[in-house]
């Protein structure tokens, strides 16, 4: 029955990306979400040509802190996380020249303190990697007082960035 809708096309499916984790997909019924990015940084990548997208949720800038942890859970750190994330995206035929990249999160405390600059350092680490790779960012939603929640719809390339009081929508087509 060619005309009958599949379950997947009626009900959107959701992958939730936890802290220090990542997900990529080319299933256009899929919504990829990550909740409560505080000082963590979320890297969202979408290739509109093949409808492939993903979210990487890093917690710390540099894997030299704990190579064991990085080996077990590479998505925890910006450097090791980027490698597995990009590898997974290209294996689904995402290409550098087509992708739209959004980075979000990296909230920091108000004062110029060494104690909690982790948000800022996470954001800098991700930006440096993207620069090295020669991939420009489409949008950056960084810093500020609030946590952010992200929802990426693979069918449309719509990214919702939710704040406690508002939602910002970006079209990555």
């Amino acid at each position: 029955m060619g005309g009958s809708p599949t379950i997947g096309s009626v009900f959107a499916q959701r992958i939730v990306v936890g802290v220090g984790d990542m997900a990529v997909s080319n299933n256009t019924n899929m919504i990829i979400s990550t909740y409560a990015l505080g000082s963590c940084v979320g890297v969202v990548i979408y290739d509109p040509f093949v409808s492939v997208g993903g979210i990487l949720h890093i917690m710390l800038p540099d894997s030299t802190l704990s190579p064991d942890k990085a080996a077990a859970q590479p998505s925890m750190f910006a450097d090791t996380g980027w490698k597995v994330f990009w590898q997974s995206l290209t294996s689904l035929r995402a290409e550098k020249r087509r992708v739209k990249v959004v980075i979000a999160g990296g909230a920091s405390v108000l004062s110029q303190s060494d104690i909690f600059k982790i948000g800022e350092r996470n954001a800098i680490a991700v930006k440096n990697i993207l620069q090295l790779e020669g991939i420009p960012t489409f949008a950056e939603e960084l810093g500020g007082l609030n946590n952010r929640t992200l929802h990426l719809q693979l069918k449309t390339g719509t990214l919702d960035i939710k704040y406690p009081t508002a939602t910002k929508q970006l079209e990555l087509k």
Partner: protein
Amino acid sequence: MNLDNIIAQVKRLPPNPQIMLKLLRLLQDINTNPNDIVELIRIDAPLTAQVLRLSNSAYYGVITPSFNLEEAINRVGFRETYKLVGVVCSSQIFNTPVQTYYLENDQLWENSIATALVMESIAQRIGSDPSHAYTIGLLHSIGKVLMNQVMADKYAEVYALLEKDKLSVMEAETQVLGFNYSQLGMALLKKWNFPPEIYEPIEYHFNPMEAPTQQLHACALHLATCVVGGVGLNYGRDAWAIKAHDEALQKLGLQVEDIERFLLQIHERLNDIKALLAMGKPKS
């Protein structure tokens, strides 16, 4: 501003966790008889049932469940029993939306348990009392529950100061209301006869170097708040409206790298936190 007068205006005070106070005293006393702890918990039938249920959970790797309180307590240990009682008490206080701070469902409760666990790790690292530290972390936001009832209409102004003038939540609340939620929480805990070891670090957790006698745990709580935020468990509209003080780190004898290690530690316990939340929810 008389904080006791503010507390008198609160229509529904959160349930008083007196059992924690009594257990804490028993834990601190080296002459405590194990039976004293069993007897104290047994008085409260719903609490007994909850402690039994939690101590029998997979979280403790239990294969043969125990239906006897004494046995259960002996198995998990006193300090762990205290933490279980803390999970039950904190559920009754914090497992509720707190609209004033934009906290949904059980977000404040999750934050409280995470802060308690980070406080315990910091205490173990710096060699201070882990049960005190746990209690401080668990109860540090109790002032938010009170603010939500009596001051909700003032928060448009508070948030304007946060977002436009970049004030910290402590500064903004003090400017608008004349006091802040950590002071209000302190006043309630004092009224409930908690000792200064518990209420003083809570009162000074935004400005820990000003704490008169409990500077170490005030600094620890200051740090714990940031660490918990680092794994995304500091929710609400004021989540990052904090001014961090580097002196707190020096006071504790820690380096910036230690903060990152606490982050890795608490990340490993995220599943434990979820499990505790799921188990600690009252059966209805």
